[in-house]
Symmetry: C2
């Protein structure tokens, strides 16, 4: 569920554009006004604002914002003004160009989205970058990670609830054998994790636990320093409970010495209208402090105000 708050009646897109234009005028920028408009409008309304702005002022709102704002606040506002698909495309492109084995953003975008959302992101990627996401991932990754990430971003997953229980049993066994033999990047492991539907994989993971005693992710923790194992666990967590996975991403971003603003901004802008309410609840349960409080403590200025506006009230 969304954490966004709106005025009882939304101003027209043209009125909102006028406010934004006013915020850009004169000496200095009125960041507060920008936040009060953009952070309190749902996605379809923001899209209308962007369209109206281009029509009235002859410039993409993203460009005007880019000129006026700076640093973390700028990045957060720009991502927020984009459509969800465009935002994912931009985030994916950012990471693919400087990809490293420790980066989990492609997994987040490929797995913690619906098949339709991922497909929309891939279309947006092509429209913006004139290449396909899969071709860039294939060209910028290598070894076992390439074997894993290319099918992960390529597959168009079935999303029905049908489950084949005997298949779940046999594939759970297959996963267990390969994990036991430390053959983590075996092509059958990759095939199962990257092509099966989420419903089927949940059945497989449940069967794994029933047959072999441990949750599969526990068996994948044999070497905490192995980035490939960590990537497999991230995939499995994004399948079994994306909100819990994203809570951890936020927690690590906040607890990191110096705060990982990139991750914090990414998760908050991509999930505010999706499941931020659940993430906030999980955050409070796990950290005994509200996400609002943690963000307030770890960030400053307009960036702080903007993130707090997106995550809504100081509750769990």
């Amino acid at each position: 569920m969304s954490t966004l708050t709106f005025p009882d009646s939304l101003p027209s897109p043209a009125d909102d554009c006028e406010q934004l234009h006013k915020a850009f005028q004169g000496w200095g920028t009125n960041e507060g006004l920008i936040i009060s408009v953009l952070a309190h409008r749902p996605a379809p309304h923001r899209r209308e604002i962007r369209r109206a702005y281009a029509e009235i002022y002859g410039e993409d709102l993203l460009k005007s914002l880019d000129k006026e704002l700076t640093r973390d606040f700028e990045r957060a506002v720009l991502l927020w003004v984009m459509d969800a698909a465009e935002r994912d495309a931009v985030l994916a492109n950012e990471v693919v160009r400087k990809w490293s084995p420790g980066n989990r953003v492609l997994i987040e975008i490929a797995v913690a989205r619906t098949a339709g959302e991922l497909f929309a992101a891939k279309r947006a990627y092509q429209a913006r970058f004139k290449r396909s996401l899969e071709e860039d991932v294939a060209a910028h990754t290598n070894g076992d990670f390439r074997k894993l990430l290319v099918p992960l971003v390529s597959s168009y997953h079935y999303e029905g609830s049908e489950v084949n229980t005997s298949l779940a049993k046999s594939e759970a066994k297959m996963l267990h054998e390969k994990i036991k033999g430390k053959d983590y990047s075996h092509e059958e492991v990759i095939r199962i994790l990257t092509t099966r539907s989420k419903a089927q994989l949940l059945a497989t993971f449940n069967d794994y636990k029933n047959q072999f005693g441990n949750p599969i992710n526990k068996d994948l923790k044999s070497d905490p320093k192995n980035e490939f194992l960590s990537a497999l666990r991230a995939i499995i967590r994004c399948i079994t409970c994306p909100e819990r996975y994203l809570e951890k991403v936020i927690r690590l971003a906040i607890n990191k010495l110096g705060t990982d603003e990139g991750a914090l901004t990414r998760v908050i802008t991509t999930r505010a209208e999706v499941d931020m309410k659940q993430i906030k609840e999980l955050y409070y349960k796990r950290n005994s402090v509200t996400l609002y409080h943690s963000v307030k403590k770890d960030t400053t200025g307009d960036y702080e105000d903007f993130l707090l506006a997106l995550i809504g009230r100081d509750d769990a």
Copy 2:
């Protein structure tokens, strides 16, 4: 271009349904009437007929046809009545369940279609079979073929005309090195062939010829019995000139001892409204006999009449 012929003014879908229903009545089926209706209606009109038929007679037209018709004629008519995406889904499912290294149908469907057509086929596949195409291909193939076919059916290719010439140069060099070293299933070869856009690949193949003297497909002919090499050549031919590739599929189907009706039906039903005119021209150039004449000679009865109706006049 299409080879279909239509009456000057198309009857209403309801009138066509009445004719079809009449053809199913009484003793025996009036195959001629079925052909005269269905083989002379464009795809959107056939879709309307199918919708109207279900509404009027409470049964899917496919089911009624299935009861009335038999053998090659039945298969051809059923495929023809389906939407293009549904047809590709059914054809892909047929081959994936009994896949063998010599089968090229998945390549034909993955490469001789636009990215949008392949995506539509994948959606139709899920709707009909409650699984994804990529998961079935991954589960039913193995070894090098799996490494090749899974990304081939998974990728959503960029279709713009932008070409990166220095990339074409470096990837042509990479392909040449691997081919020279007989390392045909090297992951870089597969990456390039399965993820790059067609425009980019054409530039790469041209560069290959310029740099190294031979067309790439000539260098991939070192072992004519190697099915994997033959699959790579099929991919490259479907990229460079799908009509020429499909002409060859038809030629081999006709020249085969006993005729390969499966392949003949597949290519004619899938291409009649796409590029059958070009295929006919290429067929005549290559065989010095019209496709019409060859099909007439090699097939009989209603099946013959139906295919001839789809490929249009006896010209080149």
